[in-house]
């Protein structure tokens, strides 16, 4: 991986980000003819209040002037105030971001690890019992909406056994510092992250299985076998590193789905992160929140794609290695 490759990827991520910001404006100011109507819908506005709202939402002037205002405030990370709580959107988001990062981070890592393992093994032992069972299972996983998983886990594990809390971030009245609080948070994370992991395990392992099947006929695997390597080592040292390459970009693209999954999962478990905030914003038609949440979600996917590209560069020596 060389400087040129990294620069190119950074640049393209940056350009995509700009495109998302512009697209965001387009959605909320052009596709949406009358944003104010959504606010007015819930409480009558006096003329004076209306003026203030127009000013605050940056709706005054021509579309072009609005665009300039929008760009300026977005650059300052000023997304206005939530229609619902009337707190600054930035505060709402930064308060809830850590919880979601934790949930999505843990689930993504688990999904990748388990999905890659299952897919690699199923592809390697294609047609075996493991392959048949795991492929059927992943198809069912794929077909299940993740929030239904969440509901099942709530009903049959949290509800029946009481081993896990049914929702929230931490127990009410629990310590907010120290080891006990970490344990408490972890306890609350188990079911949501299990839900999200199960929800996307299917696609990840199918992706890995397909790329594994594509490497099965490669000549270097015969070389490895001829050298006297065990089947396991042929797979781990030669097949998997090659099969991972095409999977990386597919996994990056599917990350967008995981973000979507976080929204419903947090809703099921009343887990106060950005996902729950999105669900609330939908029910309250809270445009400023939605606008910012859309930007955050898109940026997360762009960043994740960038990381995937860089990982790819590290894994594949053929990518612009300076000689």
């Amino acid at each position: 991986m060389n400087f040129l490759y990294v620069t190119k990827k950074l640049l393209s991520a940056f350009l995509t980000l700009i495109a998302v910001v512009i697209f965001n404006f387009f959605l909320f100011r052009v596709v949406d003819r009358d944003p104010l109507a959504k606010y007015r819908g819930r409480s009558k506005l006096s003329i004076a209040q209306r003026e203030i709202m127009i000013e605050r939402l940056g709706l005054n002037g021509s579309k072009w002037q609005q665009f300039i205002t929008y760009i300026k405030s977005t650059a300052r990370l000023d997304f206005g105030r939530s229609f619902d709580s009337t707190r600054p959107v930035l505060r709402e988001i930064s308060d809830r971001l850590p919880a979601t990062l934790l949930l999505v981070g843990i689930s993504t890592i688990l999904t990748i690890l388990i999905g890659v393992y299952i897919g690699a093994r199923a592809g390697w032992q294609r047609g075996s019992r493991f392959d048949r069972v795991s492929t059927s299972a992943t198809m069912v996983l794929y077909a299940t909406p993740e929030f239904f998983f969440g509901m099942l886990l709530l009903a049959f594990i949290a509800g029946r056994t009481g081993w896990f809390p049914t929702g929230g971030l931490r127990d009410v009245g629990a310590d907010t510092s120290g080891f006990a609080s970490i344990l408490d948070r972890a306890h609350h994370l188990v079911l949501p992250s299990l839900t999200l992991t199960l929800g996307y395990l299917g696609s990840y392992s199918l992706i890995m299985r397909t790329s594994m099947l594509e490497t099965l006929g490669e000549d270097y695997l015969t070389t490895a076998r001829a050298k006297g390597l065990r089947d396991r080592d042929v797979m781990m040292r030669h097949a998997v590193p090659n099969a991972l390459l095409p999977s990386v970009s597919f996994i990056a693209i599917s990350f967008g789905f995981v973000i979507g999954g976080a929204i419903t999962t947090e809703t099921v478990f009343s887990y106060p992160g950005l996902g729950l905030a999105t669900a609330d914003a939908i029910r309250n038609t809270d445009l400023p929140m939605l606008q910012a949440l859309f930007l955050v979600a898109s940026s997360a996917v762009i960043i994740f794609n960038l990381l995937a590209d860089l990982t790819y560069g590290l894994l594949d020596p053929r990518i612009g290695r300076a000689k």
């Binding site: 909320f28 596709v31 077909a143 509901m151 789905f257 939908i282 859309f294």
Partner: protein
């Protein structure tokens, strides 16, 4: 045979050829166990959706219908799948829900396939600025997370089923555009297009008469695989509050089950059936679509 052949017009010939191709697909499908199972399940749900008025009266969906019934009652002879939190029969809602879910799923797929194929065909066929612009747009839509986008669009544009379908379609075409484009490129590599062009055909003609038939099987298989995604997206959006409680899709039923606390109340008859229906239909479309893919693209056989 040769005498017969003389008598059929070119149009009939095309028809015969298509019929033969369809027969081949049907024969291979009969021997594809999982694909055929998927098809049977789809036929079942299709019949239920079509026959909904015969199974349950539409008035049973009205809020007033449940007024005299017990709320969240367990399954009984009168209510085979119990009642919901305002006393309406879950089974009736489930039956009518199949209409809503399938309708939105199919309409969204049509939208996605039309946009995706058009973008894919043109970006694969037209080189130069138009091609690369379309490719850039496609790249952009592949990156933008589709659920948040669909949410934003649905909030802005409205919550009716048709709007939901349009929104879902508009957010799920990027993958198929990519696929169609790749197929077009490989067709042109095989000299398919060059030959037609050399005979003096214009672009429109070449795309519609030569390229489109070449990619049609792929588009059909791909469409079958977009439907399950669209149904899942619909259920997710409904679960998040979109959609109509008085004409609920399966996802909307799950939303009702969740917000009425049926889980803590152990009212399994409320939340299990819609979930199982979603899983089954999505699975059926996936199995069927993958079988079509295998039949149309023998390279995938044995996967």
């Amino acid at each position: 045979m040769s005498i017969e052949a003389v008598q059929v017009s070119p149009r009939q010939m095309t028809w015969l050829r298509r019929r033969r191709a369809l027969l081949r697909v049907w024969r291979e499908l009969r021997h594809d166990r999982s694909g055929f199972t998927g098809l049977l399940l789809l036929v079942f749900f299709g019949v239920v959706a079509a026959a909904a008025p015969l199974i349950a009266d539409r008035s049973e969906l009205l809020a007033a219908a449940g007024r005299n019934n017990p709320d969240l009652a367990a399954p009984s002879a009168k209510f085979l799948l119990g009642t919901d939190d305002i006393g309406r029969s879950v089974l009736s809602q489930l039956v009518w829900g199949s209409r809503v879910s399938l309708f939105i799923g199919l309409l969204a797929t049509v939208v996605a396939v039309v946009i995706g194929s058009t973008v894919g065909l043109i970006s694969g066929y037209v080189k130069g600025r138009v091609g690369s612009l379309l490719l850039a747009i496609d790249d952009f839509f592949l990156v933008v997370p589709f659920l948040p986008l669909a949410i934003v669009l649905a909030v802005i544009l409205g919550r009716s089923p048709v709007t939901l379908a349009l929104v879902i379609g508009f957010t799920s075409w990027a993958g198929s555009a990519r696929l169609v484009r790749a197929q077009v490129l490989s067709l042109s590599e095989r000299g398919y297009v060059e030959r037609a062009r050399a005979l003096g055909a214009n672009s429109r003609h070449v795309i519609l008469r030569h390229v489109l038939p070449g990619v049609a099987p792929l588009i059909i298989a791909n469409a079958t695989l977009i439907v399950p995604g669209a149904i899942l997206t619909e259920s997710t959006l409904s679960f998040l509050g979109f959609g109509d409680r008085l004409s609920p899709s399966w996802g909307k039923l799950l939303d009702g089950a969740q917000s009425s606390g049926s889980i803590t109340l152990n009212a399994w008859w409320y939340y299990l059936p819609p979930g199982i229906c979603i899983i089954t239909v999505v699975l059926a479309f996936t199995l069927f679509g993958r079988a079509l893919e295998r039949i149309f693209d023998p390279r995938l056989a044995g996967r």
